[in-house]
Symmetry: D2
Subunit: 374 residues, 4 copies
């Protein structure tokens, strides 16, 4: 095995925990071409970052992300911070010649995302945006089946991402509710995932949208008072697809009882495919050609023939949420070693950003249709 890839992770929150688990795990499960070293994690608070480093298995911690990004002994920068800092960090890393993995959504604005995509385009390094759900085996399988024609010509997609952690009007304020930091609410946080999922599985782009945003709880407890919520609780939008179909989307963080229900269903001329992240080891497939015994098949996506699965456990022994991240590490390491540009690229992330921006624009103009530039 050649020299290991040395990683600097910027950000020490929930995403940092998930990414750490992936960096530790991927080389222990997959036959990667290069090993991985968890070199340094950068956070805002020295004590908490040091504690996170110790817990998560990073050799060092720092509060100076610029230094971490610039170090000679770093090959890969993993950006796990809120969206308002993605552009600065990722561009700095690319300019320093580092490979970059950046959490989604790529940025808080199209302008930032364009700059990031340009920086990636200009760099010999690899750049990848973290739409990890692509790498849940059932989702990758869905993409493969659709590409193989299992559902025929796509006509309709319907996708929702439903959570309920903001359903309680007394759920506390967080940075995710501050537009200046998070860019948007449910739209960018989870809506970005269903845009990517539909585009990835269908192989088509969303090329125009009509949208509506809604905030139901306009201020929330913060400290001893209440702070304004400046982002959407729910985003609903309709889109047209580059292949001629139509799609509906809903992202909500007030969908009481739904915890992490990223669901999509694609209906084609010959079949349909459906997925629910709350049951992430399952894929439903309907083939019209099955005739009178046709029915949605509940496929346990845990067979060795299924994407990523052969390296894991026997059939029926399901994977958890975090291994979308493990598979992301695998694919990134292979891309770095193999010299090809991984997907989803920063250009892919930019395109999702354009869809998000178009939804916001449409929502601000009475749901008028807004085209999404290719």
């Amino acid at each position: 095995m050649s020299t290991p890839l040395r990683v600097a992770m910027i950000g020490a929150g929930f995403m940092g925990a998930a990414h750490s688990q992936a960096w530790r795990t991927a080389p222990r499960v997959f036959a990667l071409p290069r090993d991985v070293e968890l070199t340094v994690v950068a956070g805002r608070d020295a004590g908490r970052t040091a504690a996170a480093a110790a817990r998560w298995g990073w050799a060092e911690s720092t509060v100076d992300w610029r230094n971490a990004v610039a170090r000679d002994d770093i090959d890969v920068v993993d950006v796990c911070t809120p969206g308002d800092t993605h552009a600065e960090i990722a561009i700095a890393a690319l300019r320093a010649g580092k490979h970059v993995l950046c959490e989604k959504p790529l940025a808080n604005s199209v302008v930032e995302a364009e700059a990031m995509a340009a920086a990636a385009e200009d760099s010999p390094a690899r750049a990848m945006v973290g739409f990890t759900y692509r790498r849940v085996p059932a989702v990758t399988l869905a993409r493969d089946l659709v590409a193989d024609g299992a559902i025929g010509e796509l006509r309709q997609a319907r996708a929702v991402y439903l959570q309920d952690w903001l359903a309680d009007e007394n759920a506390p304020h967080t940075w995710r509710l501050d537009k200046a930091i998070s860019g948007s609410g449910a739209l960018g946080d989870i809506g970005a995932h269903i845009i990517d999922a539909v585009q990835f599985v269908s192989g088509q782009r969303v090329d125009a949208v009509s949208g509506l945003l809604r905030t139901f709880v306009t201020e929330r407890p913060a400290g001893s008072g209440r702070a304004p919520v400046t982002v959407d609780d729910a985003a609903v939008f309709t889109g047209t697809l580059s292949g001629g179909g139509i799609a509906t989307f809903e992202a909500s963080r007030v969908a009481t009882g739904r915890k992490n229900a990223l669901r999509f269903e694609l209906s084609g001329s010959a079949g349909a495919i459906a997925f629910d992240l709350e049951r992430l080891n399952e894929l439903e497939l309907y083939r019209a050609a099955d005739g009178p015994t046709a029915g949605f098949r509940r496929i346990l996506a845990t067979e060795p023939e299924h994407p990523y699965v052969a390296a894991w456990w026997p059939p029926g022994h399901g994977l958890g949420y975090e291994h979308g991240f493990s598979h992301q590490v695998k694919d990134l390491v292979e891309a770095i070693d193999g010299g090809h540009r991984p997907r989803p690229s920063f250009a892919d992330g930019l395109q999702v950003q354009r869809v998000l921006a178009a939804v916001e624009q449409s929502a601000g103009h009475g749901s008028a249709w807004v085209p999404v530039p290719a």
Copy 2:
């Protein structure tokens, strides 16, 4: 028991079969205040109508609906024809002093529906429009629970009605694909049901919409050639609700693999409720107050405490599709006998018609929002 209600049914297609089953069954299951007589069925083809009458248990058949409606020995007229004839028949019946049950959607246009609602308003007779799914016990139970505050303040509704009988591009042309007869496609045929369902269960009106219609297969086999499809295959629309929430709707007859999936989910501040017509004896309820043991409860709506159920079978012995119609007959007969105006009234049907028209208008104007008059 007082004298029986004598019924004339106009229309001898699939709906006629379902209504006949209901007219026969309701008085044998429920303790109705008046019995029912299946007096005459009117159809277009004498032979086929006579055969239908014999099979379904009607005393007579005719091809002259005007005569059937005018007969002195008829108390109730049941309109089961395509939408283009609803207005003429229903208004004639009301003017002849008959009680009227009219299939949904009430009409093919708002103008017709207004005339029908006016005729109903002017008449001492009872008039009811056939949104039968209100009377599936699980749906009525959902309404009762929402009215009792089980889900708190409603924020979001999501409703779909998915079928796939037009997914095959070689499925034959029918009158349902001819706008002149059917008024619209998926929109009026099945979209009307989800509009009514959301409004009924929530107790709120859709007061504005933004919509999109799409026809994927533009001509279909007819005789030895192909005939143009002049209605939508799928209709998707977003609405605002009179209580401040938002709703999404999708009606599709090309949703491969879904046979009769009228599904709705209402998310409120304290809980949620979900239903799927393909599993019509079940209702799902989530109560946030259940805390760490909260989960969507799969309620079998077959307990004697549930609406309509006590007259039927023991718990767990589910009802079929047709008994929404049986319950409709029960409620109509009780309204006639009790002297109260039944719901959904023609005014309710008119309101749904206005939503449908607003969707069409919005779809024709780039999905611009169109208000729905109260």
Copy 3:
């Protein structure tokens, strides 16, 4: 159409209601060779029986079943009484030359069942026992698929019938808890159904059993006191099948939360099939030959190609519990008219009775295996 079949129904309880619905409905839905007349219903209490007759649509009522059975204007006797009277009534009817439909289990003892089967064998009339769940379309479809080889060679069957109406220790005493009247508890009441279901779908006989019976609540409220429960609350047994497989059975009326869960799963060398009466319009099928996209298919057994369905509603418009009885009437009328002996015959009912007796015998002898005579 030739002269109608004139029916006398003996018994006016819950089963009487279900049978009445079927006698009324089958001729209105199916193109039967002969029409049906609901001539007379016999019950124990004159007033209640007359009321039932009026509600259910029978021309006459009586408290004298012997007279009803003997009348010249009766063609068919439908026995819906508790098990202790089946033999006497059915044999009298057969000797009077009447066709007989008898509720399950056929009798309360093998001796009675043998006499009934002998009487049926000796008679030119038709005799049928009421295992109606065979005639739920999904169950008949399961049988057809298994017969067509869809699951290969059967190895294991697992069947449960779970109800919970006796879970509450204060649920009142009824005749169903008195061994003298009901013969047994969960075993004969609902265990008989799963024995028949497994045998019917597999095409194999249970040829030996090892069983255990258990009564958890040994006395229950009756009048102002409590009466002893002399039957089982739950019966569990293992069986061997005539084709070499094995089967497990559980019948329980104390399975809290399960209302009418007759479930079976048959596992074969090439596939599997599963059914749940709480979702009676669905059948699950797994075909190993589907390879990496294999999964249990949720077939909505509502397609026109499915058994009995073409006469009913469009796809996805499910049937209710009662139409197993409607289909039973259809098949019985066709057998009477066609001159063939219908299944399940009294001999089939006797065979189930022998299985029940063998379970009781095994349970009384430390679960020792007891062979079931062919």
Copy 4:
């Protein structure tokens, strides 16, 4: 943090991979009192073991398990070998003063298991048997709910563990099909899990059993020929519980279409609880006290209040199969550090072994009931 626990893992197969993942992960997720070092893995084949060590993150590898167990720098021995070697390795380790984690079933015979339990009893070290499914959060939650009275008095348990990797008669021979190595077939391999699950969740012992074993495919491909299968493909048995209830069990490796379906349902006087390992993040709970809105609640066992979950991801972000092992490591490390004896102990493992032996004995004697010593 005090000095790390140094681990020797014996066995480098599938279980070794799962245990390695757990040893690596637990200290990075939970705030353990002591860190863990993956010191050495012992296997049969030097090359393969070295490769496994490199992949899985062990510092060293060896083919000499005796040496590994005896080393001064080892604190914990983790036994992941086939059952025929458990006793020798575990007893050697205990005598060397090491803490021992031993895969299930504890041994291939009661005699071996007794010796192991005695060795554990005599040792100051900790000994634990690897019934990891206890530590799936939903299963631990089930135990807690039952202990809190959520289902009232337990009456019936039904448990199955269904797999299908032997359904194909040409699936190859393995050591798991050789009784000399594996002890038994489905019975010990997966039947042991459902025995433990029912006992753990109910808090009761199986105190007598009546069983049946069956081998459907008696020889399988091995090299260029076929080798005899000397273990069961399926085991079905009934048990009585120490609290007065009854239980049914089925373990099968020929249940076509079921991949890893460890399912149990416990029915009590006040409720019921159900689990399916194929959907391991869900628990179903029915509370009779919910009255007319009672229904099985689908609880996503991913809330911070649920066992083990707070250290992981947000609600709805499910865990995978392997983290039962991670939780096992957590609990073992805490027991070692805290000085208490962990459960399931070797005595617990012996008790399961006695149930397994009783099933085999019963199966060999016509399913006669065999008591299980306490």
